[in-house]
Subunit: 468 residues, 2 copies
């Protein structure tokens, strides 16, 4: 792959701060509407490729193909690499395979792979057939690794050297070797069979006397990334050990690639977005550019699941229809018990899911986390129960009704705290993603227990007659 793309990208970088303002977006859209392609292209010329990618995301769908045509060759690899998947899909469809192949040929392997894996099988094959065989083989090898694995996100051009080389020898080679990548941050020191045995940051090499060997400059302990490792795990390693780049090794432990931290920042952002979206039942790719039908498919599943759990709660209420008929005020108060309980459950759930994602929570401290949530729930429950108990007593002049709602609220908030921590822990232990289905379960529990506790206590306390 052509090494200078990153440098190329930075040449467009705005001299000072970020480049895309709303005024410019409006002007470009106006030019496109007026059919003034050259003006539209001129207006994009000061923009960084990442900002041009943002521009595509911000404009209406029907403006995207005209903008792509207006940009011509400026719609290049760097711009496409920065687009979100949905928008890139659209733009790629507007380009013919010959142009896509040109773009792919200009990208680093990791970006090229990200682009090719989005094409449908026929287009991918056609595009791969059009590019340079060396690039094609590199991309095909990367595609052989699992999705979202280190093998897909690595670059395949790590700078490596043997341990016995001196710093001077390495610097000479780096200065004269044409095929070397432009942008690298560390040199990996390898043994004769290409196993990494240490890492040297460029700043260490620059500060070392020219005569010492790499073996004396390098740091022997290093974080090696197996090519099959999931990208979320890779991101954790980078965060934990504050890595800038890391060696990727194959099953035999041989150096096959390098991952740099700029890709990790995107992955951290993406994994965090997935957690938020999954917790809310909005799928995991929900962004404002996801096509309506895709968003519908992702969301309706969870709404149907929510409908089913709401029916469970509804069934609980039906058990107490006679009680409600005798005392309709119960029907007006019961959603309060369920609602505040649901909110308490959501709070606990968010803290737990996030702690699992950031590895703060593990088997070692799970029991402590549960105890902690119970203690918080008791405090919250006592506070809310006191407020609502006194409020209802005063509003309805009925201390027994106040006591019933207070007891039900306390019960439900404690149940919510337990469910909010135990459900995600249980899903995690069962090997499932704790963010995915937790909130449906927790809501079902807090709704059902809320209604059951309130209506059940109202009946049991003799406030109203028994169930039908």
């Amino acid at each position: 792959m052509a090494a200078p793309t990153t440098t190329e990208a930075q040449r467009h970088e705005p001299a000072e701060t970020g480049g895309l303002d709303q005024r410019r977006v409006a002007d470009i859209v106006h030019a496109l509407d007026a059919g003034e392609r050259e003006l539209a292209a001129a207006l994009t010329s000061p923009l960084h490729p990442a900002d041009i990618a943002d521009l595509f995301e911000q404009i209406e769908r029907h403006h995207r193909a005209p903008l792509a045509r207006a940009l011509g060759n400026r719609l290049d690899a760097d711009v496409l690499a920065e687009m979100t998947d949905w928008v890139r899909d659209e733009v790629l469809e507007a380009l013919d395979n010959a142009r896509v192949a040109e773009v792919v040929g200009d990208l680093d392997t990791d970006d090229a792979v990200a682009l090719v894996e989005e094409l449908d099988a026929a287009d991918a094959e056609d595009v791969l057939a059009r590019i340079d065989p060396a690039d094609r083989i590199a991309i095909e090898e990367a595609l052989a690794y699992p999705e979202e694995s280190a093998g897909r996100i690595m670059r395949r051009d790590p700078v490596a050297a043997p341990e016995h080389w001196t710093v001077g020898q390495l610097l000479d080679l780096v200065r004269t070797e044409d095929g070397l990548t432009q942008d690298f941050w560390e040199v990996f020191v390898v043994d004769p069979s290409h196993h990494p045995i240490g890492t040297a940051r460029l700043s260490w090499l620059m500060r070392a006397p020219l005569g010492v060997t790499l073996g004396d400059v390098m740091q022997r302990e290093q974080t090696l990334i197996p090519a099959e490792m999931d990208q979320e795990e890779v991101a954790f390693r980078f965060q934990q050990y504050a890595l800038i780049s890391a060696a990727v090794v194959d099953k035999g432990g041989r150096l096959v690639g390098v991952i740099t931290v700029d890709d990790i920042v995107h992955i951290v952002q993406q994994e965090a977005s997935e957690d938020i979206l999954r917790l809310s039942g909005a799928g995991d790719e929900g962004d404002v550019n996801e096509p309506v039908t895709e968003a519908y498919k992702a969301r309706i599943r969870w709404l149907i699941a929510n409908l089913v759990t709401a029916l469970v709660a509804s069934t609980v209420i039906r058990l107490f229809e006679d009680a409600i008929a005798q005392m309709v005020v119960l029907a007006t108060l019961m959603p309060i018990v369920a609602g505040v309980g649901g909110n308490a459950g959501t709070q606990t759930l968010a803290v737990t899911v996030r702690a699992l994602a950031t590895r703060q929570l593990s088997r070692a401290n799970a029991a402590r986390a549960v105890v902690r949530e119970i203690r918080i729930a008791v405090l919250n429950g006592l506070t809310i129960a006191t407020v609502i108990g006194i409020g209802v007593t005063l509003a309805f002049g009925d201390p027994r009704l106040g006591a019933v709602i207070a007891a039900a609220m306390l019960t439900n908030i404690i149940v919510a705290g337990l469910a909010g921590v135990l459900v995600p822990l249980g899903l995690e232990r069962a090997g499932a993603d704790p963010a995915v289905a937790s909130s449906v379960f927790v809501t079902m529990i807090t709704d059902s227990i809320g209604f059951l506790a309130f209506l059940g206590l109202a009946t049991a306390s003799g406030l109203v007659g028994g169930p039908a």
Copy 2:
């Protein structure tokens, strides 16, 4: 500040993959319980500082002080820098100020600042008085910048050189200058008044002929970070332009520091966590090590707010007490309408808040996002309305009741979609954090409209008599 701390940290790094397994945690706890300090210390010896920090987080509170004592001087700057705030607070309290001052003196300015800003005022003053004056002044200057600003997270030792220098001159200086930091990734090229005019990555310098000037190697366009810029904005720049490090400038545009991407990864993670926690009403620092009383204070506010909004929904139901008394089944079905609507609102809310946080959503495309959410809501609403309408008709043998719940459900899901996108957009435009209060508003709207639409349509359709 002592430059070699990072190198120091990496020397402990595990030879292969991440070091802290549950077995080791259990063994260390066991050793602490048995009072075997030396064994406990020995068991931590293969661990990376980041893993020792995790160890402190995972064990019970009452084990933390004994572990700190067992570690002695191994509880150093690198370990403390990696701890979450809550646990670090606890550990710092267990250390005397003299030891804290030693630790602070070993840290880079950015980490030292993060540590000192957590101490209470008297301890901070005492600690600062004990450290080297040069370090103290650097820390005090950093503390003069706003919290969460670039000035707080920058390191103050950027490597800078004038434009007319040759690559050879620079390499000679770097090799011989003792005071230079060990770890840097780019050299900032400055004019005589210390304004950055370009950046050169170390790999470009290593590949350039020794005789060319820095002016010819550097890239002139660069992303400069004003020292007052909020860290969230800084993180956005790093992501957008795939930066590894960036120059920080004062109000006069002079180079005062450097921010590196490893700190940005933490900020991205932290900001994403804040979004999740705020959306759920769990405060923004909720982690499993937050003390119970702090967690209580953060959460009870939102539960009280939720209680108030639940009372609004309850008031809506009270308008229809007579209708419920006539037809109790309405009370059993109404939570379904409110609940599924609430879930639809939460989905839209999560997508919108995340799109705002990642800058996918702006004024330019806000109208399109609203239209998109309406279209999704109509599809979701029609689907759920059909399912529940047919279900209720069959279950109760009452097509009019089926039609009423279907119409109410469609209405509420569309309202939920609108509220889920308009509430966070409105908060953002008003200058508030859209993640903070959105879900309370949206829940209030979906609950109230859910009850109003269902009970109101039941009354208006003549299914039951009018309101009291």
